[in-house]
Every structure is written in C-alpha cells, then in structure tokens.
Amino acid sequence: MSRLVARFDVRYPSFHLSVGLDVPTSGITVLFGPSGSGKTTLLRCLAGLERASGGFMQFDNDVWQDEANGMCLPLYARPIGYVFQEPRLFPHYSVRSNLLYGYKRIPSQERRISIEQVVAILGIEHLLERRIHKLSGGEQQRVAIGRALLTSPKLLLLDEPLASLDIQRKQELLPFIRRLHEELHIPVIYVSHAISEILQLADRVVLLKQGKLVGAGALNEVLTSLEYRGSFGSLRVGAVLDARVARHEPQYGLTQLEFKGQFLFVLLQSVAIGQSVRVHILSSDVSLVIGRIESPTSVLNILKATIVEIRDIDQSSVDVLLDIGAPLIASITRKSLANLGLKPGQHVYAHIKAVALNEELTE
C-alpha cells in the first residue's frame, strides 16, 4: 500500500506548524481541526507552496521535498491536483479552456482521465462554452475540481472546497467528491473543519490542533476513541458504518441495510440493492440490553455486540465501547451500568433508536 511520509516545521510570526505525518494514501484522508489549527498550511506544505528548512515529503517512492539536501520540487513539477477554497478559475478563459489548461500541459501518455469522464462525473456538460462569471459558486467549484482532475494527478489535495457554498450546494457536491474517488481511484487529502464532511467522505482522519498533530487513524477508530472525543465538539458519534443495501420495503417506507451479517433499517432510500451507503449512529441513540428480550419491542434495529471497554465520561454517564464487527459506542448512565453489572467481554444487545444516512446530518 502506498504511503505518504512528511515532516514540516514552519514558523510564522504568530503560528508554528510542526507536523510529522505517515499515512496510507489510498482513499480519502481528511485533515480535520478547528480554524487556525494549520490544516491549510499543512496542505500548502504538501503541495510545495510553503517551504521551511528541514521539510521532507515522500509520496510512494518519490521524494518531492528533502530540504536537508536542498531539494524541493515546485508545485508545477509534482503530479498533484490542488483545489483551493475559492475556485480560482481563470476569468479570461471559457469553462472548456479552464478544463483543458492543465490537460494540455501534461504529456499525452500520462493522460489517464478524459475530458468526457470528468464532464460526466461532475455533470458540467451544459457549462462548457460559458464564461466563468456566468457560473454559480457551486458550478465554479465543480469546474475547478474538473480542471485539477484533468492533469491526471497521483494525489488530489482539496482545501475546504465546499466552505464558501451554502448547505444545499454542499450536499450537491459531496457525492461528486465521493464518486470521483471511487471511479478514478485517486488518493485524496481533504481539508475540513465540518464534521458532516468527515462523516460522509473520510476513510481516514488526521487531527490537527494549534499546528500540532493530535492523532491519525481510520475514521471509525478516531471517532470512537476516547482520546480524541473532545476534537469533534459536542457531537457524540457512536459509529460510522459502510453498509450494503439488502432490500427495500416500500410498503413501510424502509430500506434494510446489511453490515457484517447484521441488519439495520433506515428510511426508504433510492439506492440500488447491493450498493454501499454510509450511515452513522449517535452514541446517545444506543441503549444496551442483556440477553434477548422475550417480549416484543418497537425497536427495529437490534445488533449483537461485545463489550470491549467501559470509559468514564463524567459524574453521571459512561461510554461503553462495543464491538459489532466495527467499533460502536453507547452512552449510558452510571446507574444503568451498575444495575446491569456490565463488564468487558460480556455479550449484549445494542438497541439503536436512530440510524441516519449522512445526508441527513446537520451540524
């Protein structure tokens, strides 16, 4: 598996970025942190736009920066696609010319992505002959993504490309970003401070705070780890699962999802059977039951789980880390913990009151 290894130590008058990074590059890696945590600076370092003595960066087997040996490839010599917060389209060119700007500058044998592909994925066919200033913000950002893709990059860097858009446009664009990754297999590094974007996009999360690396790992590990729970604000995510659509029950308005042999119901989705969807569960929506309840219950979603760990949260509540084939957290009261006598290793049933598809999540 290819890896990205980087070390940067950059001092600014009011800010100090000091980060060592070693992550697999497959999938979507989200750099997450509050504003001012150095996400954008780190991304600019990865692109070679910010330099500092001692900087080092290696992608797969290619060293792009090794300041110890006085070496730093400029951005235009790196196979990187970069999408900035603002679209930064060239106003003196049409949409088509913007898209072809980078495409024309790479050797033809390195062109793995065609303009037809990009136009289809991003849905920008009808915009091609327009002038830039006639486009909406969302349209401009789609063109900017397309323009970057057409350089057939080995690594795609996205710096909060949705930050300047309203919620509706965001929801329009997020599936595009997911799709372009799934269809074109380009590793993506995505800067965001929006938890909803993480939940929808991330395979892996890198947490930053005040210019320092707080932690890094697979999305579910990071979300369910006690160590990082403060990093996500008040939202207490219990789990994010990539489940498969098993069947639809239109008469009840429900869709059944399968995850590692267990089943979950969500509201009816217009997604084909066999397709993958990502759902999340808040830890406060999970309650625990010992042994199967004989009497019927109105709760539809009941998962078999094993207790892994019990973590103190505050005076009245604890988090119970469960294994359902993936980590899942249940937030319960200390009183319930004592009444049930829960212990690590114990088998329980997790009753889940609500399962949300990520599109439904608002901040």
Partner: protein, 221 residues
C-alpha cells in the same frame, strides 16, 4: 508643419516607443517584486521609483547628464559619452517615465495577488508559462495604463530632454523643445500648431485611459 517639425515628431514617437519597450521589460519584474516582496527595502525602492514625479526635470536631467557625460562613471567605463545622443535620451526618459509604468503594473499585480499563479502552477504551468498565460491577461488593464501613460508622459517631457539631449535636429530635437525654439524665434503660428496637437493628443490619451479603466483604478500618484 515644417520639415523640421516633422522630424521632431518622428524623434518624439521613436523616443516614446523605445522608452515604453525598455520600461516594460525592466519594469515588469520590478513591479512584480514591489507588489509581492516583504523586504524592508521595499519603501526605499518605491520612493526612488516615484522620485521623478516630484523632482524638477532639470535636477534629474542634470544628474543623468553628469553620469552619462565623458567624465561621468558610465562615460569613463565605456570610454565614450552618451550625452546629446538619442540613446542617452532613451536612458534619461526611462528614468523620467518610470513611475508612470511601474505604478499601474504594481497596482495590477497587487490586485491580482498570487492566487491565480498558484492555480496555474498546480495545473503544471511553469513560472514563465503561468506568468504569460494567466497573470499577464489578468493584469492586462494595468499593462494598457502603463503603456499609454508611459508613452504620453515621455512625449511631454522637456527639461530632461533639454539637459541630456540638447536639441539636435533629427537626433534629439523633440516636439516639446521644438515649441520652445519656435517661441524663441517668435514663430507663434508653428508653436500654436504643435502645442494644440500635443494638447489634444494628451487629452485624448487620458480620456481613453479613464474610460477604459472606469472599473479598475489606475495607480498613479
């Protein structure tokens, strides 16, 4: 117009064109540096560039004459003098018209910022490629202002020309000095003709610049 007036017009146009060409070549990197540097020397360089706006042209002309003359540093170095030659006049005009070319360019580069260039680099454009295909078109209004103002300002110079170039017909005699000569010899009709021509020309040039730049301010002090 007499033949001498026509020859003065020709010298003037050549001088203005040469000056603008030299200033665009020298001025583009200098304006770019001024627009983006964080160097503490920046205000000093900016002040030097703006000096010709406030300095009496004769002062500027005097120092250039001394520098270019046979006993000046340049004259000794090259062992010949550029004073009272067309080349010397171009050198003097370059200094004299510098702020009128540098400042619009600097303003245009500052307004554009580095963002479009970074975008071009991320699309595999080398530094020169990115500058030519992205920054120059974005700064086009600045370039138009620079060319027009630089050209027109060079056409109107008098003191510097007189000091450095003298008034040698066909070589360094330009329209503004021709007017002076006509007045001295009481040829008011000829003086009128050239003066009116320059007045209307200058007005039309400025009108053109302001109409073209209504939405983009020209940065000239």
């Amino acid at each position: 117009m007499t033949e001498m007036d026509l020859s003065a017009l020709w010298v003037t146009l050549r001088l203005a064109a040469m000056t603008v060409v030299v200033l665009l070549i020298v001025g583009t990197p200098l304006a770019w540096w001024l627009a983006h540097t964080r160097s503490r020397f920046r205000p000093i360089v900016e002040a030097v560039v703006a000096l010709p706006i406030v300095l009496p042209p004769t002062v500027l002309g005097f120092y250039i004459l001394v520098a270019l003359g046979p006993y000046g540093p340049l004259g000794r170095l090259m062992n010949f003098t550029l004073a009272f030659t067309f080349t010397g006049l171009v050198i003097a005009s370059v200094f004299y018209s510098m702020p009128f070319v540098i400042q619009p360019l600097q303003g245009a580069f500052e307004a554009a910022g580095k963002a479009p260039l970074e975008a071009a680099w991320s699309l595999r454009a080398s530094r020169l490629d990115a500058f030519l295909t992205v920054m120059s078109p974005i700064a086009l209004r600045g370039y138009i202002s620079a060319v027009v103002l630089g050209f027109a300002h060079t056409m109107g110079e008098f003191g510097v020309v007189l000091m450095v170039g003298g008034s040698i017909p066909g070589q360094t005699k330009v329209l503004s000095t021709t007017i002076f000569d006509h007045v001295e010899t009481m040829e008011f009709a000829q003086a009128h003709a050239i003066s009116a021509f320059m007045l209307i020309f200058s007005f039309l040039v400025l009108l053109g610049v302001y109409v073209a730049n209504r939405r983009f301010p020209i940065h000239v002090s």
